[in-house]
């Protein structure tokens, strides 16, 4: 009989010293209810308990400050679920998640923007949703606007912005939030060629700093080059965990 632990989440302030653990996952399991359509109250009452599947199963993971981790694995192996659990967007069904410091994700950059608010108002709204304080944002707003290269449009409502401008603004807010842990998705390219370079430089800057980075990607070469640890997820469990060169080699041979 397995012992079922209650799910729990602990958030601490940022760890100061190097080599300290910033993320700990203990026996984390996440199960989703299978629903083909959105459930209705009546259906729920008739069917009683729904069938479910485990997107992650009994994950134990420790991430140290400054580690650059690449998560690989086939589609549906639980990579995104793992990022969501670490980011606190969803909570585990069982197990304990401990994190310290500010976590931001560079996924879905435009989410949280409101078309009727100006660029500046959106910076405040978005920054605060990410967990920044009002004062912090005020202190950095010039930098954010300059980096996004929005210029005089900053006082115009967002619906007048081009797609590229919105992405740039979203990217700029996230990278200026002074995070301790960054979650990255594969699509690193943002906006036009020039900004893509700028954003890539910024991301490389993060890689050089003591910030922990977790990246989900199919670009294995990128992980080989920039990460110092790779985790291979398969069917919701960690299959291998170690040096990118070894793990990626094994992963490719298994395909």
């Amino acid at each position: 009989m397995m012992e079922y632990k209650k799910s729990k989440r602990v958030t601490r302030f940022a760890a100061k010293n190097q080599n300290s653990t910033v993320i700990t996952l203990t026996e984390v399991t996440k199960s989703y209810t299978i629903h083909h359509e959105k459930p209705t109250l009546v259906e729920h009452l008739i069917n009683g308990r729904n069938e479910s599947f485990n997107a992650l199963e009994d994950i134990n993971l420790e991430i140290k400050k400054g580690e650059k981790i690449g998560i690989i694995g086939p589609n549906g192996s639980g990579k995104t679920t793992l990022l969501k659990i670490i980011a606190g967007i969803t909570s585990p069904t069982m197990g304990i998640v401990k994190t310290s410091g500010m976590i931001v994700s560079l996924i879905d950059l435009e989410a949280g923007f409101h078309p009727d608010l100006t660029g500046e108002q959106n910076i405040y709204l978005n920054g605060m949703l990410l967990g920044m304080g009002k004062k912090e944002i005020s202190g950095r707003i010039k930098k954010i606007i300059n980096f996004a290269d929005i210029g005089r449009f900053i006082d115009a409502p967002l619906f007048t912005y081009s797609e590229g401008m919105k992405l740039r603004l979203g990217f700029s807010v996230v990278v200026h939030s002074d995070p301790d842990i960054i979650l990255l998705d594969e699509n690193l390219g943002v906006g036009d060629e020039e900004f893509r370079k700028k954003s890539f430089n910024k991301i490389q800057e993060f890689f050089r700093k003591g910030i922990s980075i977790i990246i989900v990607s199919h670009y294995l070469d990128f992980i080989k080059k920039y990460c110092n640890r790779a985790i291979w997820l398969d069917n919701g469990v960690i299959k291998r965990d170690g040096k990118p060169i070894n793990i990626i080699g094994q992963y490719l041979r298994s395909q």
């Binding site: 989703y32 209810t33 959105k38 459930p39 209705t40 109250l41 009546v42 729920h44 969501k84 980011a87 606190g88 967007i89 969803t90 909570s91 976590i103 931001v104 994700s105 996924i107 879905d108 989410a111 949280g112 409101h114 009727d116 608010l117 108002q121 405040y124 709204l125 605060m128 949703l129 990410l130 967990g131 304080g133 009002k134 409502p157």
Partner: protein, 255 residues
């Protein structure tokens, strides 16, 4: 802890500002619409009901207007808050932030409207001299009851609506009945004695009565009515808060 609640309040204000700005974008009369609606309702209902009513209510138009303002605050808040978590799914998927700010910002923005409308209501009240002796006390009690109940019920319905989308339709249907179940267009004194318990389980009864008494010279709610309504409001609110805390960890799984 202090920093957390500080951030919660800042975020709530920014979200409320967003609600207010977004609603009156490109409107010429802006806030005036919040008064025009109940004013029209008041004129139409006032004209028609006076044809039927046996015992005339003193200052009937004022009585109606006070009740309608409270009713509109309640029904608009509930109608908009119930589907709010589902509507803001892009925010939910983006970051970890206190989910309660979504329904609460809707209620707070409506409350700003309510206060502005009340300021206008004071003009006829002062001209007609219908202020009660303990008007301020009644007004404060009324505000406490209506805000607590609206917040509690909205948290409950918005949390449940994430998994059971029927809730939204149920709320819409219930509000139509609820309007007539609340002494807004009529006085509680037309209700037969043996049916009065029905009004005792409607938390809005004494809430509306407090405002009608404070501003329009109607009698205040009886002690039995006030106590039974208050107890019910307390339980609904406690249930709403607990349900929201429980469900909000897993909103992401269902939107």
């Amino acid at each position: 802890m202090l920093a957390k609640s500080r951030h919660f309040i800042d975020l709530l204000f920014v979200m409320t500002e967003k609600e207010l700005r977004a609603r009156y974008k490109n409107t010429f009369f802006g806030f005036l619409w919040i008064v025009v609606n109940p004013l029209l309702q008041m004129l139409v209902i006032g004209f028609i009901f006076r044809l039927f009513i046996k015992e005339p209510i003193q200052n009937y138009y004022l009585y109606l207007f006070a009740g309608l303002l409270i009713w509109n605050f309640f029904s608009i808040s509930l109608t908009k808050a119930t589907p709010s978590i589902v509507n803001e799914r892009s925010l939910i998927k983006k970051a970890k932030f206190p989910r309660a700010v979504i329904p609460l910002s809707i209620i707070l923005s409506n409350f700003v409207h309510l206060l502005l409308a009340f300021l206008l209501l004071f003009i006829p009240v002062l001209i007609l001299g219908t202020l009660a002796k303990f008007w301020l006390l009644e007004l404060l009690l009324g505000f406490i009851l209506i805000i607590t109940f609206t917040v509690g019920l909205s948290l409950l319905t918005s949390a449940l609506n994430v998994r059971f989308r029927d809730i939204n339709f149920f709320v819409q249907a219930a509000l139509i009945l609820w309007f007539y179940a609340t002494p807004i267009v009529y006085s509680i004194f037309v209700v037969p004695r043996n049916l009065i318990w029905l009004w005792r389980i409607n938390p809005l009864t004494s809430t509306v009565q407090l405002f009608q008494s404070s501003l329009a010279g109607a009698p205040p709610p009886g002690p039995a009515m006030f106590i039974s309504n208050s107890i019910l409001i307390f339980f609904v609110t406690a249930l709403g808060v607990l349900m929201f805390i429980k469900e909000s960890n897993n909103f992401d799984d269902w939107v």
